[in-house]
């Protein structure tokens, strides 16, 4: 077998099994005596539970709720904090909050029973929007002011001084909506007991997150619960913490019943009763001199977190750290607030807080440019961060920034400069452009201080097994990681094994999130491989490595000062549109992008990520509307919450720049989230130019464009 080179074009290792339907997903597993579970949820956004009247349960049927948690356990799911209850108890805080689990052998009977449970509530006035929460509608949900978490960063001079010197101030508020992950496979898990240990099969990104989150329900340790990841059909962040919400109740049920129990959400449950991207409300106040130069930006960022913290504080931090976008703004103060509401808790979604602030700063910069008569691309490029520039967290950009080259590539491919000049505002055709980045891996020294990732290679004869906790969820990691191992060892990818992780067998390599897998875990596997290659003739042995943080890059997690990220992915996207003046439908006629991801480990996978990320971002900006007025999501299915089809956007032209990253495997940086982070702003820029409108929110379907036109 020939050795696999890192730049070889290969077929994804999981492609054939998935295409043929041979891959085994959670819903494909059955076990002897297996029972089914159906989740009973709150039907109101806020109130107290007065009574739960159960129909008579036939023999072999159970209703599992908070009362079934043993005395040594606690009714809490340990995500970042421990505030999200496994079962609502006494009160409910959002529509869809878990109250109990019906368990039994026949799904028909479960359905019947679920329709005959009568839960009586005393309803309270809910707070649904960020504005509701600020106004403390219905009284505070969390603390005295609904502030679940907050932070600020500052750079340069005090804001009062900056604004005193300003010739003018440009202020605007920009809002983004909920976004649903719509992963192909809905959420699913099965709890059972194997070899005397609680074992959970789950469709999940982060198996070790689940065991950590649920063990305390039974007063157990993380190591007492075994999680086996099943082949996972998409996640996008929706299976980072959320599987805990399925696995917690299942574990309590398993403790009582001790038979295999399967819980699968149908699409409607997955739409209505799962986490979403945080809606945001971002106010940017910019001090300008008489020529339109930026003196400083004062930002206030609100993220709607729902009533439980889940990942909100971390999502918010990333949002705040990306609030200046790719720009070196001399003076900045940005405050971020995660606010509590009575909507389903918001959580991780590709980009993890960065897309909201990046959309806001891009749109804001573009509006300032237009106000002063500058081309947005030219104006923005004056402020590009460079190597050694001070960041918003008073750290520095460590790598070379290739944005000027990337702009050049995208402008040439799209004919941006000519089109930008020739297309007259409001005449139906427009081109827009955006710049964006994404800090790779956990913030600051989190990789060292919090995760301490491990990876292991095990050699048996001439085969090598990768043992990591990282998961394949459609992003291609089974292929990427095997390729890194094979290329490092100088053997064929056919000689590498890498199974879906089982937490009892593999070391914890940290969550499969934060665009960290290739960059961090890939590098660990490379380091293992380097040692294994030297010792190749020693027979059968294994090599395990722990993450080591590069020296000289301080970070203070208390004050949020220092080098927040060692390496960023960078992006530039241009989008050209034609507006139908009769219907306000927008047709995208061209998409061009250039990304800096260090070095591409597998160009075909990267191509897939670029295509998918950009289309998902365009869907976010144009059509993916998820409304929640009184606590209930209005869109319940894939026919009213629409995501783009292959007919909606044209073939993309894409390119990469080569900028090898010192601490990544073969020079690779993170890229899975980066490619989501900017096409939305380019699209909105193009729409604004085509129609002569100013946009302050996304999504913008035709009816919202109509409103914006009426407002002009």
């Amino acid at each position: 077998m020939p050795a696999t080179g890192i730049n070889d074009r290969i077929v994804r290792v999981d492609a054939a099994a998935k295409a043929r339907g041979e891959a085994k997903y959670a819903c494909d597993y059955t076990f002897p005596d297996m029972l089914y579970a159906y989740m009973i949820r709150s039907s109101i956004p806020r109130g107290t539970i007065d009574s739960i009247d159960m129909p008579n349960l036939p023999e072999g049927y159970y209703f599992i709720s908070a009362k079934d948690i043993p005395p040594e356990g606690k009714n809490e799911l340990w995500m970042i904090a421990k505030d999200w209850r496994c079962f609502a108890d006494g009160d409910v805080r959002f529509v869809g909050e878990t109250i109990g689990l019906l368990v039994g052998p026949d799904r028909n009977m479960l359905k019947y029973l679920s329709e005959h449970i009568e839960i009586k509530y005393t309803e309270m006035e809910p707070a649904i929007s960020i504005n509701d929460a600020i106004a403390l509608k219905g009284g505070p949900i969390v603390g005295s002011d609904n502030v679940m978490c907050q932070l600020f960063v500052e750079k340069g001079k005090p804001m009062e001084e900056v604004f005193r010197e300003a010739d003018s101030v440009f202020e605007e508020t920009i809002e983004t909506g909920f976004q649903e992950h719509v992963h192909l496979e809905t959420n699913a898990a099965i709890a059972t007991i194997e070899d005397g240990k609680y074992t959970i099969y789950a469709s999940a990104q982060c198996p070790f997150y689940i065991s950590k989150a649920v063990a305390g329900l039974l007063g157990l340790e993380q190591k007492d619960i075994v999680i086996k990841q099943t082949t996972t059909g998409g996640a996008f962040g929706g299976k980072e913490h959320f599987p805990d919400v399925l696995c917690g109740p299942l574990l309590v049920a398993e403790y009582k019943i001790r038979k295999p129990i399967k819980l699968i959400f149908d699409r409607e449950e997955d739409m209505l009763y799962s986490v979403k991207r945080h809606p945001s409300k971002i106010t940017l106040k910019t001090a300008l001199d008489k020529d339109g130069n930026i003196l400083g930006i004062d930002g206030l960022v609100y993220y709607n977190g729902g009533p439980y913290l889940s990942g909100t504080y971390v999502v918010l931090q990333r949002g705040v750290f990306h609030a200046n976008g790719v720009y070196d703004i001399p003076n900045t103060y940005v405050k971020g607030i995660g606010i509590a509401t009575n909507t389903f808790p918001s959580d991780a979604f590709r980009g993890f807080g960065a897309p909201q602030t990046l959309f806001a700063i891009e749109t804001h910069m573009e509006h300032i440019a237009k106000k002063f008569g500058f081309d947005p691309a030219e104006y923005k490029s004056r402020y590009f961060l460079k190597k050694d520039s001070e960041t918003i967290t008073n750290g520095h950009i460590i790598e070379r920034v290739m944005l000027p080259e990337m702009l050049e590539k995208v402008a040439t491919a799209s004919d941006y400069w000519r089109k930008s000049k020739e297309y007259k505002t409001g005449e139906g055709r427009g081109i827009g452009i955006s710049f964006y980045n994404h800090g790779g891996a956990f913030t600051g020294n989190g990789e060292q201080a919090i995760i301490k990732a491990h990876a292991r290679l095990v050699k048996t004869g001439d085969r090598v097994r990768i043992e990591v906790g990282s998961t394949e969820m459609g992003q291609g990691f089974q292929t990427t990681l095997r390729k890194i191992a094979a290329a490092t060892l100088g053997i064929s990818i056919e000689q590498i094994d890498y199974d879906n992780p089982d937490t009892s067998k593999v070391p914890d390599s940290g969550p499969t999130a934060a665009s960290r897998s290739t960059m961090i875990v890939g590098r660990l596997v490379q380091r293992c491989g380097e040692e294994m290659k030297e010792r190749w003739n020693e027979g059968d042995f294994s090599v395990e490595k722990e993450y080591e943080h590069p020296e000289g890059h301080p970070w203070n997690q208390e004050t949020f000062r220092g080098d927040a990220y060692l390496g960023y992915g960078w992006g530039c996207a241009a989008v050209e549109v034609e507006a139908d003046k009769l219907t306000n439908e927008i047709k995208v006629v061209g998409i061009w992008s250039c990304h800096d991801i260090g070095h591409a480990i597998d160009e075909l996978i990267v191509h897939g990520q670029v295509n998918g990320g950009i289309v998902q971002s365009l869907g976010y900006a144009s059509m993916e509307k998820m409304e929640n007025r009184k606590g209930y999501f209005k869109q319940t299915s894939m026919s009213d919450y629409v995501i783009p089809t292959s007919m909606d956007f044209p073939k993309q032209e894409w390119s990469l720049v080569e900028n090898p990253y010192e601490w990544g495997p073969f020079g690779a940086k993170g890229m899975g989230e980066l490619v989501f982070n900017g096409a939305d702003a380019a699209y909105i820029d193009a729409v604004e130019r085509a129609l002569g409108i100013t946009v302050h929110k996304i999504p913008m379907p035709p009816e919202d464009i109509e409103e914006a036109l009426d407002a002009e």
């Binding site: 359905k111 629409v642 009816e703």
Partner: protein, 289 residues
């Protein structure tokens, strides 16, 4: 628990079952099965009996008559309709834009009419073209215009013993035609708004003029009194009549959600159709790319 399911093999048998049990016809099932869905691992259930009529040959096929009318069997699928050269353009166009390919191969014209959704794709052009239905029962057959058959959202004039047998589209010959569906995306989308318009001109005189609006009220809207403002007048009078017509049409539609968008867009599309004709557009389809 589950109601009875019948599978008749002839129309005669189906009409007998329909009369005796009131079982409702199920053809492609693309609306009914969704209504009956109950979740993962459970068969759909309906609160009424159904008969699966997809095997009835009497309800299939698309044929042209000597008088120029076209008869479409109730079981014809949108795919068959879209690819039939004898079906009038407005209907073909609407059929070709319904849902996704799988749905177009499964759904039926009879079902799309019987479901009577204001957002249904086919009733809108059928009502424009004064199409009528042949309804069969053991008592015999009767005809009723599609416009009269659909009473409102999800309400029809179908009697308990009747089955939709076929749709007949009378002959028409338009000088100018227009059709537009605005979906939530470019494919596989439910209609947000749709509009058909048509005009026949002879020696400068407008001998026929019609329009129909879908998803702009509880049922497809056609206002013959608004059409009369234009019909029978001269082409060069359009500019002076346009405003009255647009205003009358706006009064006729009653969109519930997104009212401004639906009203303004309907108005702009109709105005565009009339302006194009006024400025001397080539006969044929207006606005086709």
């Amino acid at each position: 628990m589950g109601e009875m399911i019948y599978v008749p093999t002839t129309l005669e048998e189906a009409l007998q079952i329909r009369k005796e049990t009131g079982a409702r016809p199920l053809a492609g099932g693309s609306d009914i099965m969704v209504q009956g869905k109950r979740g993962i691992g459970l068969c759909p259930e309906l609160p009424y009996s159904v008969m699966i009529i997809s095997g009835l040959d009497e309800l299939k096929g698309i044929t042209a008559s000597e008088d120029g009318s076209v008869t479409i069997g109730a079981l014809a699928t949108p795919s068959e309709i879209a690819s039939s050269s004898i079906v009038p353009w407005h209907v073909r166009k609407a059929a070709s834009g319904m849902g996704a390919i799988a749905l177009r191969n499964t759904a039926t014209i009879g079902g799309n009419i019987g479901n009577a959704s204001p957002k249904g794709d086919l009733p809108q052009p059928l009502i424009l073209l004064d199409a009528y239905l042949v309804l069969a029962s053991e008592r015999g057959e009767r005809t009723i215009s599609v416009d009269d058959f659909i009473i409102g959202a999800k309400k029809t004039a179908l009697m308990d013993d009747e089955i939709i047998k076929s749709v007949v589209i009378p002959h028409s010959s338009f000088t100018y035609s227009y059709y537009r569906k605005i979906g939530m995306r470019r494919a596989n989308a439910i209609s947000k708004l749709s509009l058909s318009a048509a005009m026949t001109v002879q020696n400068g005189e407008i001998t026929d003029f019609r329009a129909s609006s879908g998803a702009a009220g509880p049922k497809v809207i056609r206002s013959r009194s608004a059409e009369d403002i234009i019909r029978g007048r001269k082409i060069d009078e359009i500019p002076s009549l346009k405003e009255d017509f647009l205003s009358a049409w706006n009064d006729a539609i009653s969109p519930h959600a997104m009212p401004e968008y639906r009203r303004h867009t309907t108005r702009r599309m109709l105005e565009y159709f009339l302006d194009e004709i006024s400025r001397g557009a080539e006969p044929g389809i207006i606005g086709e790319e």
